[in-house]
Amino acid sequence: MFKNLNVWFFLSLTISLFVLIPIITVFSSFFENTSDYYQILKETFLIEYILNSTILLFFVLLFTFLLGTGTAYLVSFYNFPLSNFFKWALILSFAVPPYIYAYSLTAFFENYGTAYTILKNLFGDNNYNQNIPKFDGMFGAILSITFSLYAYVYILARASFLYQSQNLIELGKNLGFTKFKSFFKIILPAARPAIVAGLSLVAMETLAEFGAVDFFSINTLTTGIYNSWIAFDDLAFANRLSFFLLLFIFTLFIIENFSRKNAKYHFNNKGGFKQKEKIILLGSKAFLAFIFCFFVFFMSFLFPLGQMLYWTIKFPENFFDLQVFNLLINTLHLVVLSSLVLIIFSLVSNYGNRVSNNKILNIFSTLSISGYAIPGVILAIAFISFIAWFDESIVKSFGLFSIKKIFIGSILGLILVYFIRFYSLAFNGIKSGYEKINISVDESSYLLGYSKRKTFMNIHIPFLRNSLLFIAILISLEIIRELPITLILRPFNFETFATTAYISASEDLLEAAAVPSLFLILIAALFIIITSKYILRDNDK
């Protein structure tokens, strides 16, 4: 059990244990006392929190399934006008976080908003406000999250459809199935594990969503956790609420992992795989396919981008008031530091796992990658709880200076929590790169006289170079969009595009939120375009 213990083993174990801190903190909080807020909440809002979270989850899953699977099916099986463009354009929705989508939706449909202005310019003055639908509250939150997250389902469903062999399709024809029947009897069931994996990711993100639900004043478990900390200063209760939410999320995490393992069967392109030939759609069918994909692309990306651009142009003073350069430097500062730290430690951890091949380490590593399933709000609060406990119980008992200031409200603390949140992204990304390196490659290297360290530096790093770049960009994309951790843990007077947009919006200054939102969307979109080939696992040209 303890064979192959070396410095790499201990480094990997330390990294895994560090990432597990929030989970341990949340679970241990179960035994702590809470304030009266717990009683008040139990008698008043707790049911509402759970009910709202459930309604939100149900409708977001339903809509993301319809949009994600529908668009993936069309671009995978058919050729129609701009189908190749939609193939990657549909993932641009990742550049628009739900909270920015929420601002756009409100800005467009609110009284005297953009829709009103358009109608007024087209048809002159009238009382249009009563005829313009209002997308706020629960419905607004559902739409914002759906259009921002459907791409998870789209990407995984498309990858599954892409690898479905022509043989499978021909089998359907051979059995005399219509296209409709083939879709429901063959294509959809074969892609089910991939779709379930996509939906599980959507579910986890939805339960973790803070910005959009907070903006629409929907009380969910996540906002409840935030409020119990901000408004009632009850960390123990925040952690207790987190515990229930985590149980829920871990169930989804297990389903997602299980589905992903099954999904691998559908990516097998060895032996008998025959590339599909896309069917060319003509006439009204081509038009309908185009309209559907364009609608989704427009609503998910062009609409929020256009709204933010419109406001930036309409209220240029906001652009000049905002210290864009400072925000850019702050954002890049976080992005570069976090990416570096994440990649270096994930590399070390992966290599430690590889050379130690130790069961205990494997268990800790598997547990530690669950960080991505934990909402940022919970991570931030659990981190604060842990530092407070560590400060009170350990540091002060040795008569040392308080360490709270070093970790809370500092760049270091922020990066550490980003590390926990996005560790799985970096770890899994590097792991899948490592899986392509046969273990005999390492052994060959040793036999050529290379030490473990030299093998790592001279053989592995050059091999993983492209993967590392891709992972760095993915991490950057996540950090640019990230809101709750940054909001809770950032140093005083340190703002990013995301926090500036949130603060302006929460002060009802939506026009002022437009400029940072626009920059955020543009930078994120740029990163998505750079990495689209990898995201789509695209080999079909």
């Binding site: 392509k436 390196i437 046969n438 005999s440 490659v441 052994e443 060959s444 290297s445 040793y446 036999l447 050529l448 006289g449 290379y450 030490s451 053989i459 050059p462 091999f463």
Partner: protein, 354 residues
């Protein structure tokens, strides 16, 4: 074993993942530059032996000694990178992100301080005929080419001990024999001590000055290829080599035996048996000669055309099936169910009995 041997394995159990694959193995390589081959069926533990010698697996008993230095024992385990042993894996183990040339040059970096380098990249490339793939990446070449590139990388390191795991298993049959000739020449020239693992007995007999047969978790025989073939020391080795059958016989004299179906058989016993002993005689396909004028006639039940020869399977009156080689230019071809004459008296050079 003496300390004069260049390489020694003394009473080693070879394990992988806690399971013993081959027990209590001992053999030695006397001189630097000798080539030995280990033969055995798939999954028997041949690769485990090579991995252990290379230092990739540890041992709990016995010792492995290279050039007077113990490199593996229960207490000593020199790291693979410090052994100067090279192992060419059966499967492609080229570095996937480097070209074939870069892969080979990485091998050349080892022992680069060795000024009297005896082989250059060009020589290796010519030897293994891999010039056309030098600028390609491992995923762009065939399995056979990858195997040759891997072999080149191992050879150029000029290790103290070279371990080759089924080195030519993916090489085309038409090219295999030529590569075997070239490989033998280069190993002789460079005086690289080599252990080759293979399941191809012809390859082992050609390349190795000694052959080890591994069966049922044991090294059954370790000897010259000629002796392994003609004087197998156990029924298991006979069955593994699949080059003959065992028939019952009775020792009737110093140089004779009697078989119920074939009559008297003459020859030189490699081991003495008392007169009247009942034994199992090893009868190899080349031991019997065809003679249609003979009165010993057996029924043909099968005939295999093997290019240079036919292998007839004959049925004796007691229903024993006997293989017989006949030159393929032989004008008398016998069909199935026909009678086939065997020259008498039957004479076998080496009589092997169990």
């Amino acid at each position: 074993m003496t300390n004069k041997n260049f390489f020694e394995i003394n009473n080693v159990d070879f394990n992988v993942s806690g399971k013993t694959k081959v027990k209590n193995v001992s053999f030695s390589i006397e001189n630097q530059g000798d080539v030995i081959c280990l033969l055995g069926p798939s999954g028997i533990g041949k690769t485990t032996i090579l991995r252990t010698i290379a230092g990739l697996e540890k041992i709990n008993s016995g010792s492995i000694v290279l050039n007077g230095r113990t490199i593996s024992s229960k207490k000593i385990n020199i790291e693979p990178e410090d052994r100067n042993i090279s192992l060419a894996f059966q499967d492609n183990s080229l570095f996937p992100h480097y070209t074939v040339e870069k892969n080979i040059l990485l091998g050349a970096e080892r022992n680069k301080e060795n000024k009297d380098k005896k082989i250059s990249l060009k020589e290796i490339v010519d030897l293994l005929d891999i010039f056309h793939i030098l600028n390609k990446y491992p995923h762009q070449i065939s399995a056979g080419e990858a195997q040759r590139a891997s072999l080149a990388r191992s050879l150029i390191t000029q290790p103290d001990l070279l371990l080759l795991d089924e080195p030519l298993s993916n090489v085309d049959q038409s090219f295999k024999e030529e590569i075997q000739v070239r490989l033998k020449k280069i190993l002789n020239k460079l005086k690289i001590t080599t252990i080759i693992v293979t399941h191809d007995s012809y390859e082992a007999f050609y390349l190795g000055s000694k052959c080890g047969i591994i069966l049922n978790q044991e090294l059954k025989q370790f000897d010259d290829p000629y002796k392994v073939y003609h004087f197998p020391n156990s029924v298991e080795v006979v069955n593994f080599l699949n080059r003959g059958i065992l028939i019952p016989a009775k020792v009737t004299g110093k140089n004779t035996l009697e078989n119920w179906d074939l009559g008297t058989i003459e020859g030189n016993f490699i081991k003495e048996y008392p007169k009247g002993s009942n034994v199992q005689l090893l009868l190899q396909p080349e031991d019997l000669e065809h003679d249609d004028t003979s009165n010993l006639k057996l029924e043909v039940v099968d005939r295999k055309f093997r290019g240079t020869n036919f292998i007839y399977t004959l049925k004796t009156p007691s229903n024993t099936l006997i293989p017989v080689f006949v030159h393929s230019h032989h004008i008398h071809q016998h069909e199935v169910d026909e009678k086939f004459g065997i020259k008498r008296p039957i004479h076998i050079d080496h009589i092997v009995c169990f």
